[in-house]
Symmetry: C2
Subunit: 259 residues, 2 copies
């Protein structure tokens, strides 16, 4: 066959194409059938039929009849059940909420998805200054406390795979070399928590600690974040230990299906 864009391990062509459509829509927001067809290098009609299949299950919806498509609310419904079946997130509300009130800052839970950090749950702190909602958003690991935590305890091979593609220098403090990054990860392993001090954007500070499963594997990161004016470097150690303690409470829980 001509264009074998098939991802490794994915053996069902039409399904893979349908899922790539979802990814494209996630990036582009809205897209027409023709645009998708040319992107995937398939025929209009094929794309149209794939869209119908996705639409029938509510994963995409078209704006008007015979119009463009975008992702559908069915995805929200599916995603809602994801977090509840994940041990790191399910039943975590008591802990995260208590943490948010204790430190007065926004609390997040994040996992590693490929080489990006994906925020899967969030509690916004009492402050008036609301950061944007991060749920479902992903960021590179090298400039975030969560990214450092999720990378630090990986075996060397996976750690390389989890590195960012490009070491974008987002602020003066951003780490942009492999050696400095590895040194930072070693420090994270030693301390048991990670700090990102204005490394992703100015005036934005975060502190994260690992959530582990029953086998002591790091499966997620618990994170607090806020403006530099409230989270000062003198408080890093105290806050680090508080986050570590909360993360420990969330650790060691076995997986369960639906609860």
């Amino acid at each position: 066959m001509g264009n074998s864009h098939l991802i490794e391990g994915s053996s069902v062509q039409s399904v893979d194409r349908a899922l790539r459509i979802l990814e494209i829509l996630a990036e582009q927001g809205e897209y027409g059938v023709t645009e998708i067809a040319s992107e995937l290098e398939i025929h209009k009609s094929t794309a149209s039929r794939l869209m119908s299949a996705l639409q029938a299950r509510g994963l995409v919806e078209q704006l008007s009849d015979r119009g463009r498509y975008r992702l559908g609310m069915g995805l929200v419904r599916l995603a809602g059940t994801v977090t509840s079946s994940h041990s790191a997130v399910s039943g975590s509300r008591t802990v995260t909420r208590a943490l948010a009130q204790e430190v007065g800052e926004t609390v997040n839970i994040a996992v590693l998805e490929g080489n990006e950090v994906l925020y899967v749950d969030q509690v916004i702190g009492p402050s008036m200054v609301t950061m944007r909602s991060w749920l479902g958003k992903s960021v590179p690991p090298h400039c975030t406390a969560t990214g450092k935590v999720l990378s630090a305890w990986l075996d060397p091979e996976s750690r390389v795979a989890a590195r960012p593609h490009t070491w974008a220098k987002l602020t003066p403090n951003t780490i942009t070399s492999v050696s400095a990054y590895e040194a930072e990860l070693a420090k994270v392993r030693e301390l048991g928590y990670a700090v990102a001090n204005e490394e992703m954007e100015n005036d934005f500070v975060a502190i994260a600690a690992p959530i582990r499963d029953e086998h002591d594997e790091v499966i997620a990161a618990l994170c607090i974040s806020g403006p530099a004016s409230r989270i000062k470097s003198a408080d890093f150690e105290t806050l680090g230990h508080i986050v570590k303690l909360s993360a420990t409470k969330l650790s060691g829980k076995p997986d369960f299906g639906r609860e």
Copy 2:
């Protein structure tokens, strides 16, 4: 062909099967290949290959090698972009948060998905700590203020389609007849807002108003909810108008793709 479980309009068999797998996993939490195969009445090998395709794109993940499957975090990532591209939700935080502070109650945004009400965004009020727990959860329309709002302005045909399958009597106040329900919807159209007074569960009251798009179509519902001890029937009218006002602020915004 033997078992034509194909949903109306879905013309690609393998894609439809893959999406049904996602729905099954959403219900069951975890499932093995064999269980899925018997559920869909397909062969183990087929199910296994479909799972591989889903896994390659991160929509499902298996717990251990050669183990069971569950929904994956890729769904969270996809769902995260859904709300931001929906006009009713994107940029709504300012309004919802202000409303939550004004009335001191939890604020939700919901949309209609088939014949269920799907909560797509939430701000919890009284504690001044925002969190998302209903996200992705759905409830029947006949016992909720959001459901009434989302049904009230539908054309008669769609209104029938949006009716619940079973009129479960969840509390003494639950509406359980079509005629009473239609009368209630007429009242909602007249008032411009809906009330659910302990109709889903005891001590739980909600008030909702419609969010409209630029063509005045109702695309979502804005809702406040809280215990009956705080939201008394004497306040329904005042609160109804407040919710209506906030909903108007969220209305009329054109769709945009990615912003």
